[in-house]
Each structure stands twice: as C-alpha cells, then as structure tokens.
C-alpha cells in the first residue's frame, strides 16, 4: 500500500474528530529546530465543509480491536485497514510543516491489539518526530482510554495538547454504544492529565527549564444526536467538564450516520447541524460572556430555540433587565446585549472614558444596531422602533430565520424523533423523547 492510499484511509478515518485548533501555547522558535507555536492558533486552510484545517489530522492506525457502534473503524465494520510507520508519519509532518500547510500534527489512533500497545506505537512516532527530527511545532495527541497511566504520562511529555473523547453525553449512552470504553476508563486519563498539568505548573515555578507536560491544556469531544439527551443535559455536562477538569475546549460533533445499527438513528437521519451550532454558541456564552448553563437552559426550557441564538433568547425572556445605558452600564451587562460582542463591549468601555457615546459612535465601534437598538439607551435616548413590552414581537424582529425561510434552506430536521407540525415548532426535540433510563431508541 503506498503512502497516498494510507494517507487517504487514515485521514478519512480521523475526520470525525472535530478538535481543530492549534491554540493554547506560545512557543517561540529555537535556532536549529524547525517550528514555533502561536497561542491564538493559526488556521492554514478551510475544507469543503467549512471547517478549519490547522493540523495534519490522521490516525496512527485504523485497525481497531474495539467495536463502538457509531464508529466507522469498529472491528465488525468492513473497511480497508492501514497503519503508518513512524518514518512515514514524521516525513509527512515535517514536509507539510515546512511548506506552511499545517501548524503541526494531530495524532489519534484506533485501539490496535490493546490500549497499551497503541500508546507504545504512538510514542515511538512522537519520539522520532520530537527528538530525531527536532520538530518544534504543535502536537495534539489523543489519550487512549484504558491505557497504563505511565504511558499516558509519557505521551503528555511530547504533546502540546492532549485530549480524551467523552464520546457520549451520559453514562447510559456510553454503556449502550461504546461498552468497551467505560466512564471510568475515560475520566481516569482526564483526571491524570489535569493533575499532571497542575503539578507541572508548580515545577516550572521552581525550575524554569522543567520539561513541559501538555502546556496547551486539555480538550474533549462529544457526539450530538446519536443519543436522546436534552440540550440542557449536554450543556450542564459541558459546564461541569470545564469546572472540574479545567478543559480548554469542549467540542461537539453532530452525529453523522455512517454505520447501520439498531441502537443508532437511521442512516437517513440528517445530521443535527443547527443543534451543534447552538451548542457552540452556548459554549461561547459560558466561556466569554459570563453566563451559567442554568441561565441558558432550564427545566422548563430544556432545548434550544431554533429561531433565536441563546443570547438573544435570554435577552428576550428577561426584558426587565433592559434597556441598559451604554455610557454607564457595567461591562458584564453590555455583554448581555444582543448585537454587542466581546470586542464591541471592550471598545465601548474604552471609548466611553474619553467621550460620550451616541448611536453614530456605536455604529463606528462595530455594534450591530439592528439588534442592539431594542435593548440600549444612548444618553437616555432610545431608537427602538417597537414597544418593549411584548417578548414575542421583539423575538420576531431579531430572529435570524423565520418559519417560511426554513423551507428554503437545505433540509434539516429539527426533531430526531418525528416530523414537526409547523405551527407548534418551539424546540428541537419534541414530545416523544424517551427518558434516558435506558429503554433504547424510538425509530423515527
């Protein structure tokens, strides 16, 4: 099998892992070594699906011993199997890197024979890359659930970022679809990585040249739409993961039906892209806008509004907090105004120290007045064209999509479990969602 074929097979097998960034660590170049790392990350290209390409994302091997139902590489699935040699991997990484195609390597793997053996294969390749070839660029490596902690630790010494995939948003779902990857086997390496990073920070304070362990932090990923958890449960889990494991990012991957199985949604189910988009919007609110998961979704509203992004949705349902005066409101409240993002809020904060802001000035600063005008005052004046007493009216005015517009878009089912009635659309999964106390799935 030549390297072209191997590259195609092992890229194809790795593409459902959506972790895409090369961010988290500033590492200036070193004379004599090829490479450097930039904290904000650099996106070298964008694929036909619109997603960023910043790393050479491949599997070491797709010859898996496990049989996770949703995965295209599962043991019982008929497909071509391939593995890279360490030399091939190094060659690809170095040659792509020097041509400025990539920021570095993203190395994952199917479980070859057993988790420990897989780690050793990966270690051999990374050691060659870092030590023999002197590669100083970015490396993101996946920890293998179930591997010996000493091997996980060694992997961490060669990597910038390390991640373990949570895979599914609840223990029951995990048991059902990926029984060989138990909750404990996944959380153990996450805990180990977290503790390793903390310990490493202390060591670096004492000894500046201490070897770095996973300096760009940890991330994880879960699949959305393969199992019946509500958006609220997923968001609460996300918030918990950030708090407990100090993760840098949580990624959401819309379930793409590639495998047929009784426990999974049908092969014809369209991927829940809008839901994934809403989750990323909510994730941003958690990390940059000071929201808590409970503010975004609660028991009465367990799923996202398809017509309004979560921030607008919150604003429309809390009209008593508005309007805010942009010249005096605290920064935290500015962030809550639809149409004012982090950059605009910072610009407002610094500009208003020098002069009094008016609507013309706000426009110059990049505020989206089309939305913000309903929620702000400028020197006591408002330019809201509508009365502010009816949330539904405001929601209609700032919504990015109307029911009529929805039909013109590419077909996108809002519910996994049955066709929606036009007039009663309110949430993305309606009514027939079974409880997660494991009675399997409703086939659509």
């Amino acid at each position: 099998m030549d390297i072209f074929e191997k590259l195609e097979i092992l890229t194809d097998a790795a593409k459902y892992d959506v972790a895409c960034t090369s961010s988290g660590v500033d590492r200036p170049g070193v004379k004599g070594k090829l490479g450097s790392a930039a904290k904000a990350g650099i996106c070298h290209s964008f694929a036909a699906d619109g997603r960023c390409i910043s790393l050479l994302k491949v599997l070491m091997s797709n010859d898996c011993a496990f049989d996770c139902t949703y995965c295209v590489n599962r043991r019982s699935n008929e497909c071509s199997r391939a593995s890279f040699t360490p030399q091939e991997l190094c060659e690809l990484t170095m040659e792509f890197y020097r041509r400025n195609y990539i920021e570095g390597l993203f190395l994952s793997s199917a479980v070859v024979r057993n988790p420990d053996y897989t780690c050793e294969l990966m270690l051999r390749a990374l050691k060659m890359l870092r030590e023999d070839r002197g590669f100083w660029g970015y490396v993101h490596v996946k920890a293998i659930p179930g591997a010996n902690p000493r091997l996980t630790e060694q992997l961490g010494m060669y990597a910038d970022r390390m991640s373990v995939n949570i895979e599914l948003p609840s223990q029951q779902s995990l048991k059902l679809l990926a029984p060989q990857k138990s909750k404990e086997k996944i959380l153990a390496p996450m805990t180990q990585i977290r503790d390793g990073i903390r310990q490493n920070s202390k060591e670096i304070v004492k000894y500046k040249a201490a070897p770095r362990f996973v300096p760009a932090g940890q991330s994880t990923q879960m699949i959305i739409g393969a199992t019946p958890e509500s958006d609220r449960q997923i968001l609460a889990l996300t918030e918990g993961l950030y708090k407990i494991y100090s993760l840098k990012r949580v990624f959401f991957s819309a379930y793409m039906p590639v495998v047929e199985d009784r426990a999974l949604p049908a092969l014809t189910t369209p991927p829940p892209l809008l839901r994934e988009h809403r989750l990323y919007q909510a994730d941003w609110l958690l990390r940059f806008y000071g929201f808590t998961a409970g503010e975004i979704l609660d028991e009465k509203n367990p799923d996202f509004n398809p017509f309004l992004d979560p921030k607008c949705n919150w604003a429309v349902n809390h009209l008593e907090q508005f309007p805010v005066e942009v010249n005096t409101a605290p920064y935290e409240m500015l962030l809550r105004v639809p149409g004012i993002g982090v950059k605009s809020a910072k610009r407002i904060r610094s500009a208003r120290r020098q002069c009094r802001l008016d609507f013309d000035g706000l426009k110059k600063l990049g505020v989206v007045l089309k939305r913000a005008r309903f929620f702000i005052l400028c020197g006591g004046k408002s330019i809201s064209p509508l009365p502010m007493d009816n949330p539904a009216v405001i929601a209609g005015a700032i919504s990015e999509r109307s029911p009529a517009q929805r039909d013109l878009d590419t077909p996108e089912q809002l519910s996994l479990f049955g066709p929606q009635k036009e007039a009663s659309v309110k949430s993305l999964t309606k009514g027939e969602v079974p409880g997660i106390e494991g009675d399997g799935f409703l086939s659509p």
């Binding site: 890229t11 070298h44 699906d49 997603r51 041509r99 400025n100 500009a351 002069c355």
Partner: protein, 252 residues
C-alpha cells in the same frame, strides 16, 4: 490646525519622504490639498511642490511623534503607511496633527472620523497580514523554499518575522507580486534576511518530489471534509477566494 491651502505635495513614496512632507506641513503651518507620488501621471490644477527626502529630518519628525504624542501612535503611523487606505498620506498627516493637539489620548478617540478611518485601515492590514500568514504556501525549489503573495496592503514587513523564527533552519523567499517586493532569508546567516524590489519573479519548475508532496496535500485536503456537511459559503466566508490562486490545494 493649519489652514487648507491650494498646494499639492509630491514625494518619492518612501516612509522617510512622507515624514518630510509632515515636517513641511508643520513648518509652513499649512494643510496641503493632496500628497501624491513624484511620478503621478495626472496633472493638477493646483501648484505642485516637490518634497525632498532628508533622512535626518525624517528621524527628527519620528522622534517628535514618539515624544510629543506617544510610541503607540508612532507605531500606528508606521503601520498606517503600509495600508492601502485611500489618500493615506493625507489621512496620516491629519492623524499626526490630531496627536500633536490631544497627546497620547488620541488613540482612544475611536469615534473621531480621522481616528476611525485609520483604525479601520489598520484592522484591514492586520487581518490581511494574518490571512497571508495562514494561506501562504511554500514550494521547494531546489535548495530553498519559495512563496508568492498577492495582498492589497503591504503585509510583507509584518509577516517576515514569524517565518524567520519558525523556518530558521531553512532558506526561503517570499515575493509580493502586487507590490514588486520580496524577502530572502538564508539559514545560518548573521543577518536575519533582506528585502528586495523586483518587477517580476520567475521560479523554477517544481521537482518531482515537490509535485509528490503537493499531491499528498491535495489528497489530504480533499479527504478531510465530511461529505454530509459540505458548505461552500462557510468556506468562502472563512477563506476569501482571492487567496486561492496561490494555494496548493486549489492548483489542479
């Protein structure tokens, strides 16, 4: 603020030349109608004055900006000169005069028309430099790596530092086709590298090995997209099409 006059400055297009125009305007206490290049073909109804470029004077002006206004403002002016803003010299002159009047605070006056225009141009410059850094593609040309750029702003000075650091083990060359400007770096040399000017540049044909890596990259690029999520609009939004002509993945 100097009065407007019916005079047009002409200078040699260099940054030092521009600073001398600033000195002229301040000394005469007059605001020119326009600041143009010496070889500007279009005639003008207004009287012309050719401004001589004197490096000593330029340094003086720069120092006065740093001291009377602030180092940040001097930086902004320097970068502003690299932008493709309309009437950039005149706008920069107005900005500098505003700086002399208000001092270091001028940076914060983001709602002032002059400052706002400069801020926008600098943002465009910064974004284009970042895109250029991301989408630049080197090709092995037998002993050195070469890359082409076609930016609207003069981004080359802003990106070479990054590559000198990252590719310190390589010989490389970057050429800006739109501005006829290039940069060469030799590994192990004492100097970081040097800029050069050239009307055009021809590179040797790619070797077989280079073709092989380009093919591998194209194979990777095509495979990594998830078929069920093809979204050309999103891709174009993140990666403007005008960069595609110099990118390996789109050269078929």
């Amino acid at each position: 603020m100097p009065d407007g006059t019916d005079i047009v400055y002409r200078y040699d297009g260099s940054y030092q030349g521009f600073l001398c125009c600033v000195a002229e305007s301040c000394n005469e206490k007059k605001m020119p109608q326009a600041i143009q290049l010496l070889d500007e073909p279009q005639g003008s109804l207004f009287p012309l004055r050719a401004i001589e470029t004197r490096p000593g004077l330029a340094t003086q002006v720069e120092r006065s900006i740093t001291e009377r206004v602030s180092p940040e403002v001097k930086d902004m002016v320097r970068r502003g000169f690299l932008t493709c803003m309309e009437e950039k010299e005149l706008n920069l002159l107005r900005f500098i005069l505003l700086g002399y009047r208000y001092g270091a605070q001028v940076i914060g006056l983001s709602t002032n028309d002059v400052v706002h225009r400069l801020d926008k141009a600098l943002l465009y410059l910064k974004n284009e430099a970042h895109y250029s850094l991301e989408f630049l593609r080197f090709a092995e040309c037998g002993g050195f790596l070469a890359a082409m750029l076609t930016p609207n702003n003069w981004v080359l000075p802003l990106i070479v530092g990054h590559f000198c650091e990252r590719l310190n083990t390589e010989n490389f060359l970057i050429y800006d086709k739109n501005h006829g400007m290039g940069f060469v770096h030799r590994t192990g040399a004492r100097e970081r590298g040097e800029f050069f000017y050239a009307e055009a540049l021809e590179l040797p044909e790619p070797t077989e090995e280079e073709e092989r890596y380009q093919e591998l990259w194209r194979r990777f690029y095509d495979t990594i997209a998830v078929e069920g999520r093809i979204n050309p609009k999103l891709r174009r939004g993140n990666m403007p099409m005008r960069y595609w002509e110099n990118m390996t993945e789109f050269q078929r």
